[in-house]
């Protein structure tokens, strides 16, 4: 904890990395509601493959923190069935790549059931785990699923960037009576952020479906989610030195998309660049551009909206290749300058 002076007031700031923010959120929600439980591979005795659930098994025991065999389709189905019967499961996929084994349960059993039953059967479940590229884990372990899950009605899909996002959105997801796909990022787990006392309150939740403007600007809007938000802010700092003020919008939620915040920003700046780690075709950026085209913000655009994305290839292993497969800060700066015709 650090105490700082802000506007002549002494404020406590807690340094919390994303992993601990997720851990604390789960801990508090497990304590708050007996129906909440966690299941997944290695979540209990191993303390979590990425240590996100560290300490929870010791505190809550076998009943509430359940190690599963390596059978995603089966345990995702079990988690959804438990939600049908009134529990509030958190189902962890060790990475979202493995959710493909279980995707039928997420979409056909979880997402669609409230609709098919005309409101008789809610499904209060959270599916969570690390999503997108990591470091050196190669093609089968590096895919971003934001677009796939973001495509489906009946799901809420969230993608936190920092510790405040992780904490507030996970609490909101667990308290939500609907299926939430919670896309974390492995490379963010160890990154520390300063959290205020307000954020550390047990009932701190971030509303699902609301984006946050992380940095105000007037010349161009950068819309991003997850780790790329940090790259946008870094790019914005560099560009500020050249007199370009970027407005950085952190989506926080993929579905429902906060089109209002995006449109308000574009109507102010007249320029749009989206930034994501996932592949370009049929992706998050594509959706944002389509929505802007179809709405009032189009008339304010002074240049076509453009997407910065992962390269359209399976993720290679060698570091030099991997580095060139994901959007870098220089790609964002380059795109901003192109769009602003600089």
């Amino acid at each position: 904890v650090a105490s700082v002076w802000i506007l002549s007031e002494c404020v406590s700031l807690f340094q919390v990395n994303v992993r601990d923010a997720l851990n604390q959120a789960m801990d508090e929600e497990l304590e708050r509601d007996e129906r909440v439980f966690l299941l997944g591979e290695e979540v209990a005795q191993y303390d979590g493959a990425y240590k996100v659930s560290r300490g929870l098994w010791k505190k809550y025991g076998d009943k509430r923190i359940i190690d599963t065999p390596i059978t995603e389709m089966g345990f995702a189905g079990i988690a959804v069935g438990a939600a049908f019967a009134g529990l509030r499961p958190i189902c962890e996929f060790m990475t979202w790549n493995f959710s493909m084994q279980a995707i039928d349960q997420v979409i056909n059993s979880a997402a669609k059931t409230y609709y098919m039953s005309a409101g008789a059967q809610p499904v209060p479940i959270v599916f969570r785990g690390p999503n997108g590229s990591s470091a050196g884990v190669a093609a089968q372990h590096s895919q971003c699923f934001a677009a796939w899950y973001g495509h489906c009605p009946g799901l809420k899909v969230v993608s936190p960037w920092n510790s405040e996002d992780a904490r507030g959105l996970l609490k909101a997801a667990i308290r939500d009576d609907n299926p939430v796909v919670f896309l974390e990022n492995e490379l963010m787990y160890g990154v520390p952020f300063d959290l205020s006392e307000d954020v550390m309150q047990k009932d701190f939740v971030i509303p699902i479906g609301k984006a946050k403007v992380e940095r105000r600007g007037t010349h161009i809007t950068l819309v991003s989610h997850s780790r790329c938000v940090g790259f946008c802010l870094d790019a914005a700092s560099v560009l500020a030195k050249e007199g370009v003020e970027c407005e950085v919008v952190n989506l926080r939620t993929i579905r429902p998309l906060d089109v209002d915040t995006i449109e308000a920003s574009v109507m102010k700046t007249g320029h749009l660049v989206t930034v994501e780690g996932g592949w370009p075709q049929y992706g998050v950026g594509a959706e944002i551009c389509a929505r802007v085209m179809e709405g009032p913000a189009f008339n304010y655009l002074d240049a076509p909206a453009v997407r910065v994305t992962g390269v359209d290839i399976p993720m290679p292993y060698a570091k030099i290749l991997e580095d060139h497969s994901v959007p870098q800060i220089k790609d964002i700066i380059f795109s901003v300058k192109k769009v602003l015709n600089m």
């Binding site: 065999p69 069935g81 438990a82």
Partner: protein, 382 residues
């Protein structure tokens, strides 16, 4: 209720034969059950009271006539899409319900109309769901494969997916400590699904109160069991899970086996697996005449020798547990119930267009839904 529906004249006939004339209960020999990893099985006899007999008869007859009416409506194109009929398998749904209570849980696949009824749905709301009307059990949003009642989780369209879901319900029962169990049904076709084996594993590891039931009606769509399964001994496929193979055409066999299985679960021993040997008279669905992969003779033979409703009827009549007239009255009452339901199902209006986008999220604020074009604004409410 029988008297209500059949009118005065019939009630005169029924009341002229006094209740004391009938045998109040009788015990029947039932087929021995094949056992897997079990020292003992269900009893070799079953006691049936007159009341139970009439109840099972009426319920099975209701399912039978409801399914036949659905066949008719489908051919008239009033029911559309998928329609998987249950006639021939009635003893399974009715027998299972006889071995558990409504506070237990049940989930099945898409051949679900019979279970929707035994789990508390009415013929009216089932038929209106098939015809896609607002009075349907899922307000017309679900259709044949997606009907739900309290402690009944459908009606599931993806083959095999319902089995892990059922284990999840069982996990909730154990977690909440409520002494309830979950019956999780699947067919011979689904029995080869990997997720079912994953479920066997976790259910056994965690001793979940789940009864796996394989309704083996000999055909997965058009593929006979010999052509789909290296082992057709479905009651043994759970390997380390104890199993029973039961005559699924005899409602008493099914009931006794279910009671046995339920005791096993409730005593904390974990899962148990029942294979019910049964038969469907219809093809896989209404698009399947059901005779390209099996013979009409085979269907006819099952109908004449093993029909579940006839079997119960014969037992009751030959033991003086009911009269022919009484059973005829039940038939008439059932027919009327089905006719009334069909009338409702064909005249009830379709769901309002306002309902198009509702029921996406539970307990949520209304929100805008993208329509077919960007200019139309649709709203979703919970």
């Amino acid at each position: 209720r029988v008297l209500e529906l059949t009118g005065c004249a019939a009630s005169m006939v029924a009341s002229s034969r006094s209740y004391a004339d009938f045998t109040p209960e009788a015990t029947f020999d039932i087929k021995k059950v094949d056992l897997h990893r079990l020292e003992e099985g269900p009893p070799l006899t079953a006691t049936l009271t007159r009341e139970e007999g009439l109840k099972y008869y009426r319920t099975m007859q209701t399912i039978r006539r409801m399914e036949l009416k659905a066949d008719q409506l489908y051919k008239q194109k009033i029911i559309r899409g998928f329609c998987h009929l249950y006639d021939g398998q009635e003893a399974c749904a009715v027998g299972i319900e006889g071995g558990i209570t409504l506070s237990d849980h049940l989930i099945t696949a898409y051949r679900a109309h019979g279970y929707t009824l035994t789990r508390g749905g009415t013929v009216r709301e089932i038929m209106a769901e098939l015809t896609g009307r607002r009075g349907g059990i899922a307000k017309g949003k679900g259709g044949s494969m997606h009907m739900y009642t309290k402690n009944f989780y459908g009606g599931n369209g993806i083959v095999g997916a319902q089995v892990p879901l059922g284990a999840g319900v069982a996990l909730a029962c154990k977690y909440l400590g409520n002494d309830q169990l979950c019956v999780s049904l699947y067919g011979d076709g689904a029995a080869n699904q990997g997720q079912i084996f994953e479920t066997y594993n976790m259910s056994s590891l965690w001793k979940l109160p789940i009864i796996f039931i394989c309704e083996n009606n000999q055909y997965g769509m058009g593929t006979s069991v010999e052509r789909s399964s290296a082992s057709t001994e479905y009651y043994k496929r759970g390997d380390y899970i104890p199993g029973l193979r039961v005559d699924g055409m005899d409602v008493l066999c099914v009931r006794e086996a279910t009671k046995f299985a339920a005791d096993h679960c409730r005593s904390g021993k974990g899962p148990i697996l029942m294979e019910l040997q049964t038969y469907r008279y219809h093809g896989h669905s209404m698009s399947d005449p059901g005779v390209s992969y099996r013979t009409r003779e085979e269907i006819q033979e099952v109908r004449s020798k093993s029909d579940p409703i006839s079997m119960l009827k014969d037992r009751m009549l030959s033991n003086n547990m009911a009269s022919i007239e009484e059973l005829k009255e039940i038939d008439i009452a059932v027919r009327k119930e089905i006719e009334d339901a069909a009338q409702f199902a064909t005249t009830d209006p379709e769901p309002p267009l306002d309902d198009l986008c509702s029921h996406i999220f539970a307990n949520d604020q209304p929100f805008e839904v993208r329509a077919a074009t960007p200019w139309t604004k649709l709203t979703s409410t919970s």
